[in-house]
């Protein structure tokens, strides 16, 4: 099923028809926002538009199609495959991943019990985030993180929304598949928030290569231990490490001789060094490479450091070239 069809399948029938008239493909569509009684908004090519009442896109709110409550109910039926009970955990997290890896954010009335979200009812707001993979975006950094027999333990650092997860996903794919010069590695992926593989019914919807094993929805620390014990990975990839348990698990994995590629929120290497959780790993040279993404520029690699903090790559120029 193609990308367009997967997204259309979760839209209410009335919206589906108008959407089809407005778009031939989803290549530039980023988000579709449905709010009860409000105009349907499409984030397209970096701009925001209303879906027109007669199809097409408009900036005029008067001519915009307004989403009804029954539209939202219908969309929720499709998103949950008519099985609300099967998506309780996802609703608790606030999003559901559908076929194709598209992530649907949901908001409505929260049912709170014993200090935690029990469920969500009266869902009146949906945000369909269309999945776009950036295959090949890791090409630049692969020579810096891969060596002949394996990889350097690598930490990808950036503020939120700079493309860490997208980059990590492509690194997993590249390492797992290998190429004509480099063998592929067995990569264990701990995908706690289903962002890397975007698994739908257990199958990764994003391309993670032919040697990747995915633990979907599993807490990171437990997942890393499970993979070490069960899947004999060469490398373990994990997104957004942050807790003491995560750091201990990373340490354990590294001590087992397994390569680690992880991401973390941060501004620069000093920021990470000063964090109580990860500081010890950085100071103990557990990571051999730090990849820093440029703030405000999605997927742009700013610098790559070695374990001692020396720059080996900066803004498109490698250290060797710079020295020359």
């Amino acid at each position: 099923m193609d990308n367009m069809k997967q997204v259309l399948q979760v839209l209410p029938v009335t919206v589906r028809k108008k959407f089809k008239e407005a778009f031939k493909s989803l290549s530039d569509v980023q988000e579709i926002r449905l709010r009860a009684g409000k105009p349907l908004i499409i984030v397209y090519g970096g701009g925001e538009y209303f879906l027109g009442i007669n199809g097409g896109l408009t900036h005029n709110i008067e001519k915009a199609y307004h989403t009804s409550v029954s539209d939202l109910r219908e969309a929720m039926d499709y998103i949950s495959s008519y099985s609300r009970y099967a998506f309780e955990e996802e609703l608790r997290q606030g999003y559901i991943t559908v076929q194709g890896g598209h992530r649907i954010g949901v908001a409505g009335k929260i049912l709170w019990e014993n200090g935690r979200v029990k469920n969500m009812s009266n869902i009146s707001f949906l945000n369909i985030r269309v999945a776009h993979q950036a295959i090949g975006c890791s090409k630049i950094i692969m020579p810096y993180i891969r060596h002949r027999d394996g990889i350097y333990n690598t930490l990808l650092i950036s503020p939120p929304r700079c493309g860490k997860t997208t980059l990590l996903r492509d690194i997993i794919r590249a390492l797992s598949d290998g190429d004509e010069h480099n063998r592929g590695f067995t990569v264990g992926v701990v995908d706690e928030r289903s962002e890397l593989g975007a698994c739908y019914k257990g199958y990764p919807q994003n391309e993670l290569g032919c040697r990747a094993d995915v633990l979907d929805g599993c807490p990171k620390a437990e997942g890393m231990m499970m993979l070490v014990r069960s899947m004999a990975p060469d490398i373990i990839a994990v997104d957004e490490i942050g807790s003491n348990k995560d750091a201990s698990a990373v340490d354990y994995v590294i001590n087992c001789g397994i390569g680690v590629i992880a991401t973390v929120h941060g501004i620069n290497i000093d920021d990470i060094r000063n964090k109580p959780v990860l500081g010890n790993l950085v100071k103990g040279y557990a990571f051999k490479r730090y990849v820093l993404l440029e703030a405000g520029k999605i997927g742009k690699i700013s610098q790559i450091f070695d374990e001692r903090g020396s720059v080996i790559y900066q803004n498109g120029i490698s250290n060797e070239v710079r020295s020359a």
């Binding site: 029938v13 039926d77 949950s80 495959s81 008519y82 099985s83 609300r84 009970y85 099967a86 019914k201």
Partner: protein
């Protein structure tokens, strides 16, 4: 001789009709038993794996003798995502199923109620509702079984008596 053959045909015809109505009650019991197993299966899948309803119906379509077409139809209509909710699809598939003719009006109402309360509940409520439906269908089956012997006897007797009565009238 012709009269004798006529009587023979009439009596055996009405005995067969009586047998048909008795058999219909038995088929009803078989169908209800199959539906009970289906409810048990749905309960198990929701409880253990929280599989979505389309997958569960798809598995059910591979089992059973009478209702597999119904589950298959549900599965295919739900996959179409064509603007109908689960209950509308359930009712339309149910009305279009050939085995429904063996069920009583109350059985059909019960089945519609099952459709109305499937899929749109949270897990705990869904399991609780399925538990209630399982108990109700067990009771229906129990009643049907206890009534079956008497009903079958009545059907057979009425069939034979009607045949004899018609034969006397014709002679």
């Amino acid at each position: 001789m012709i009269k004798f053959i006529g009587v023979l045909f009439t009596v055996s015809g009405s005995v067969l009709a009586g047998h048909y109505f008795a058999d219909k009650s038995l088929i009803r019991i078989h169908i209800l038993e199959e539906l009970e197993q289906a409810l048990q299966f749905i309960y198990g899948e929701v409880e253990y794996a929280a599989l979505d309803i389309t997958e569960i119906f798809s598995s059910l379509s591979l089992r059973g003798k009478y209702c597999s077409d119904f589950w298959l139809g549900m599965c295919s209509k739900l996959s179409e995502k064509d603007g109908y909710d689960l209950y509308s699809i359930w009712v339309s598939e149910l009305d279009g199923s050939s085995w429904v003719k063996y069920l009583l009006y109350e059985d059909r109402l019960f089945l519609k109620e099952v459709g109305k309360n499937t899929g749109n509940l949270d897990r705990q409520s869904q399991l609780h509702t399925l538990e209630i439906f399982k108990n109700r269908i067990s009771n229906i089956i129990e009643t049907a079984r206890s009534e079956y012997k008497d009903r079958a006897r009545v059907c057979h007797a009425v069939g034979a008596a009607a045949g004899i009565f018609i034969s006397i009238l014709l002679i």
